[in-house]
């Protein structure tokens, strides 16, 4: 009987803990997205060049791999994630400057923004309401990431529009899978650090937005 009570309490505590991680993750995600928007506007007002995107993505990647995992369990992790997302916002601003110069640029940006929002809200809602554990997708998603990155490396030198389109489409589907994967890991207790959870969801959103911009840019003949 005592064991049963313990397991019920443990289950309830686990749910409360998961809900707390989820709440903190969405609050931090909102804050980092807002901060990225501010740095993107600064980047656009300064008219930073296109190569700034590459520099900021590499800088954010290095910080995300080497610095964030070591600081995620301390308050310094908050500063690091704001630095990463601020840097990505700066790079995004230089891309948006280029898109705004296109005839249909503002329409493409607005459509990509709306599409990213719909995909994120829809998939998060699905993962939260279904309460399924999507962590079985881990191996498949990382294998997919490897394939897409190898194709992207080839396309840096080949510069084929069709391959760029395929890579962007692949990234959108993989990042959609990562939203399901990351959200289900939070609600099932697989991810207990809200800074790392925020980082995962932010990267999915960022990559979906960039890939949608590229697909819509190519397909609108701009």
């Amino acid at each position: 009987m005592a064991n049963t009570q313990y397991s019920v309490l443990s289950g309830a505590q686990g749910t409360i803990s998961a809900n707390k991680v989820l709440k903190n993750t969405y609050m931090l995600l909102s804050a980092t997205l807002g901060f990225s928007a501010i740095t993107a506007v600064i980047s656009m007002s300064l008219a930073l060049p296109g190569w700034m995107y590459l520099v900021s993505v590499i800088g954010a990647m290095v910080m995300g791999i080497f610095v964030l995992p070591r600081t995620a369990n301390s308050s310094a992790g908050i500063g690091v994630i704001f630095a990463i997302t601020g840097l990505l916002g700066l790079g995004l601003g230089s891309i948006l400057t280029m898109y705004l110069a296109l005839p249909k640029g503002p329409e493409i940006i607005a459509t990509a923004f709306a599409g990213t929002g719909i995909i994120f809200l829809g998939l998060s809602g699905y993962a939260l309401t279904s309460k399924r554990d999507f962590s079985f997708m881990g191996g498949f998603l990382f294998a997919g990431i490897m394939v897409v990155f190898l194709a992207a490396i080839a396309n840096i030198f080949l510069a084929l529009p069709a391959l760029a389109l395929a890579v962007s489409a692949g990234i959108i589907l993989l990042m959609s899978g990562f939203i399901l994967f990351d959200t289900s890991r939070i609600i099932n207790g697989g991810e207990t650090n809200y800074i790392m959870a925020t980082y995962g969801l932010y990267l999915s959103l960022f990559n979906i937005f960039i890939s949608l911009l590229q697909i819509l840019g190519i397909m609108s003949d701009d």
């Binding site: 829809g122 554990d133 997708m137 490897m146 992207a152 030198f157």
Partner: protein, 61 residues
């Protein structure tokens, strides 16, 4: 893009492939396996995402 920037971008992506490979190995060895019906629960939302992207393309054309 300058050749120098291309090489830098390729090296950065190569690093990502390396980290994805390590994560892949870890998930393959220690990750849970899919049960019956799990993949069906993934295919439907991803198909809806693909449909939405096609709709967005039609909107900007």
């Amino acid at each position: 893009m300058d050749l120098f920037l291309k090489i830098i971008a390729a090296a950065a992506m190569g690093m990502m492939v390396f980290y994805a490979w390590r994560a892949y190995q870890q998930w393959q060895e220690h990750g849970p396996k899919a049960a019956k019906g799990d993949w069906q629960a993934v295919v439907l939302p991803l198909a809806l995402v693909a449909g939405l992207v096609i709709l967005l393309i039609a909107m900007v054309r």
